[in-house]
Symmetry: C2
Subunit: 483 residues, 2 copies
């Protein structure tokens, strides 16, 4: 089936597993939280750590790429107060040496979501712990673990084939702002398009259906998220003396958030659904064939009921339908007991998931218009979008997608099925700028707790990821031109 002997790959991986996990743990200890300006130094440290590790792996080219218009070596100041500062990406390159070899670009991110012990973590989020075959840490699955399997994967590929350079030209672009909506990513890849030129993008920032049902993802939702700040009275005022006669920004924030959805839980912002690529009957059938059990899914979600857009199943809602979500709301008194005030300010943090056919700029404008129209006199507002990520979708019959399916099939010894990803990554920006198809290679499972307390990665699956990466380069080279 392939020129890479599977047993040699497995033997190499087994021999290097301990060192691989030790290295990954070292990386996970760096709290590279891109949303928190106070963690900017840690995000930079994470990039430097990875660049050094990739050089050690054998990549002849490793570079730190600044973002946000800063000069090399010095990050620019953030444009918006409170917004995450620009964070560096890591670029690495390992040419094949074969002039006919295709070029693949692996995409992932080295930044992570915020995490604090008091959010419900059983152990320190930035102190990795292995328990019952799982590695617990913020970033274990999203996305450091899944970036890192490529380091051992390419070495296994070389060891098993006796090559000194990979069968394809490998490039890696590991960004540092993904968890902040990749505000400078589009500019970065536009600026560096020549260095990033490739025949296919491999995104290692997604998951599989489950431990028992390995799958390949064919598309991701996009994302536009924002903060809306409302100001009413110039200070908190007495609700007895003034309440009922002046606008209350907490009430108005609530009215905005409540008006996001109609009674069918359909997003009620005019123009929001413009251009949405609707599901075909065949896609709905494929979704319906997956072993979906609502009770299990709810357990994984830590939720107690499903609720969403009328007329769609849960899988359709999370994979193929756009959404509006309240990520945070705050205003007025939140301490112990009561305080009878009309608050001065309130704040909403909203995120919108987008599907193929939607344009991020149009969605942002629709939200801006909708907010401006709904607020009464006496409530001033400011709306800040953190950035936007396009949605993307790859055809099921694409040859490079078939290579990924074969490599996974060898690693897992099972039929590989198809899913989509409800989360977002800047994959579609890459596809657009580099004019290359996007493929997804991820081994995370829904119970891994992305963005949640006690995030983990299943060690067995992580090693299958290493193995898949080891097979993939040979398969892609063997099956010729990708496009």
């Amino acid at each position: 089936m392939s020129s890479t002997p599977d047993s040699a790959v497995r033997a190499f991986i087994d021999a290097h597993r301990t060192a691989f996990l030790d290295d990954l743990s070292e990386w996970l200890r760096i709290p590279s939280v891109s949303a928190d300006p106070a963690r900017a130094g840690d995000v930079r440290r994470s990039a430097e750590w990875l660049a050094a590790k990739l050089a050690e792996t054998g990549f002849p080219v490793t570079e730190i790429w600044e973002t946000g218009g800063g000069a090399t070596g010095a990050p620019a100041a953030p444009a918006t107060p409170g917004a995450a500062p620009p964070a560096p990406a890591v670029f690495a390159e390992w040419p094949s040496g074969d002039p006919d070899a295709p070029t693949v670009l692996v995409y992932g991110h080295h930044d992570v979501q915020p995490a604090a012990r008091e959010d419900g973590w059983a152990t320190e989020p930035f102190e990795p712990v292995v328990r019952e075959g799982r590695l617990f840490a913020r970033g274990a699955a999203d996305d450091k673990g899944q970036v890192f399997f490529h380091t051992l994967g390419v070495r296994a590929h070389l060891a098993a084939t006796g090559r000194t350079a990979p069968a394809v030209n490998i490039k890696l672009l590991i960004e540092g702002e993904e968890e902040s909506g990749s505000p400078h990513f589009a500019a970065l890849i536009a600026e560096r398009a020549d260095r990033l030129a490739c025949d296919a993008v491999i995104v290692s920032d997604t998951g599989m259906w489950s431990e028992d049902t390995p799958t390949v993802c064919t598309g991701m939702r996009g994302l536009a998220d924002c903060q809306i700040d409302l100001r009413g009275p110039d200070q908190d005022i007495h609700s007895g003396s003034f309440g009922g006669a002046v606008p209350n920004p907490a009430t108005e924030a609530a009215r905005l958030a409540a008006a996001l959805h109609d009674d069918d839980r359909r997003v009620a912002i005019p123009g929001f659904y413009d251009g949405v690529v609707e599901l075909t009957d065949r896609e709905r059938e494929l979704f319906a064939e997956l072993p979906f059990d609502e009770e299990t899914w709810l357990r994984t979600a830590h939720a107690h009921a499903t609720l969403g857009e009328e007329g769609y199943t849960t899988l359709e809602r999370i994979w193929a339908r756009p959404t509006a979500e309240v990520n945070g709301i705050g205003g007025g008194y939140q301490g112990p007991g009561g305080k009878t005030i009309v608050p001065s300010t309130a704040q909403l943090k909203l995120s919108f998931r987008l599907v193929a056919g939607m344009e991020t700029e149009k969605v942002q404008q629709a939200v801006r218009d909708w907010v401006a129209e709904r607020l009464p006199a006496g409530i001033r507002h400011e709306i800040t979008f953190w950035g936007a990520t396009r949605p993307c979708l790859t055809p099921l019959d694409h040859p490079a997608l078939q290579s990924v399916v074969r490599a996974m099939g060898r690693a897992f010894g099972q039929e590989i099925r198809f899913t989509r990803e409800g989360g977002s990554g800047p994959a579609a920006d890459l596809a657009d700028v580099l004019d290359a198809p996007v493929l997804f290679l991820g081994i995370s499972v829904p119970s891994d707790g992305w963005h949640a307390p006690n995030e983990k990665v299943e060690l067995d699956l992580l090693m299958k990821g290493v193995e898949t990466a080891a097979y993939l380069w040979g398969d892609l080279a063997e099956h010729g031109p990708i496009t």
Copy 2:
């Protein structure tokens, strides 16, 4: 006009003004924040300080009254986690010696609203400062300043009349839970009704129209306030993986808060307006005759527009109409930048202002029913009412009200007009249990900043309050039986 020579009263007050203000400042330094369980010790210290000061003033009886079912001298634990702990009241008594003298009960409170420098205070809220004829401190107007003018008032009354005991039997009940909705006050006064028996209640916890337009208040709104805790997923979950398919407690909190009012800003909770005593045409005329200037009022409110129940003027809305207000809302991520989660929990703090004819228990039940009905499956909720305060209203032609108007007229040298108070106090509970009319004697003005940063009292008005208190006892005694 009266047996108390006005010049003697004024001379006595002038002579004791400095010591009076020093004492008040000492009291204001005690941060008696009843809503904050961490301040329970300070609330107790405030009660003890006042009791000692009243004894020094001459009150032969001064007592600390425990609340909340605790044994005397030891407060009970709070019933609800997060609720304010029971806080002691101060009782004092000074019999007239005249068997025919009426008995008046002065009501006020010694607890204050929360305050922190970072809320926008120009100086420390619990470090009183005099600037340009104003005393700035949390509690300066609400309510320590207005309680305290009775200490110098009764001494001026005695000095000017040559009496050794006041012309009426004076009782004082100064509670410590008013800013927490007086959760144990109804039980306290029911239990101590014999000690509190009186012919009239004088509430010193309200304000006047303005520095130029002294007024007497004829009624207060009631209050019912609560916290609603919503729980969705057991932890914060990824908005890409699960968003759009499970209920979001922040969205549901917003939908509740938004549904409080209809498009005419009328409270939309079924049954809320049951029993409301509507304004008469005469009352609407009296309100309309006051020198109300919306722009000035908005400046005082620190607000930028009016908004409220359709069909009513601003004064009608704040004095004579019930309201629902969002005092606080919180849920999900409120830190810097974005976090793409479906939050696990959200919280609403609501307060309802009630007017004559409304029953607090019925309003609470209406709110409970309404909340329970509106939440979708998968959102669990808990609702906690902090306590409730009844509304009250006194007839304009009541003889004791006329005494208050005369005493104020002498102090201010001006016609006294009539207002109502939008805020709330447990006056109506007193009226109900003690079967006595409620009168209001307050010298605070709207710009005093109750519950807001930089609360202050106008020193000139504070001294007019002392003077009014000095005239009132003689007038009440002279004009015979009150009821």
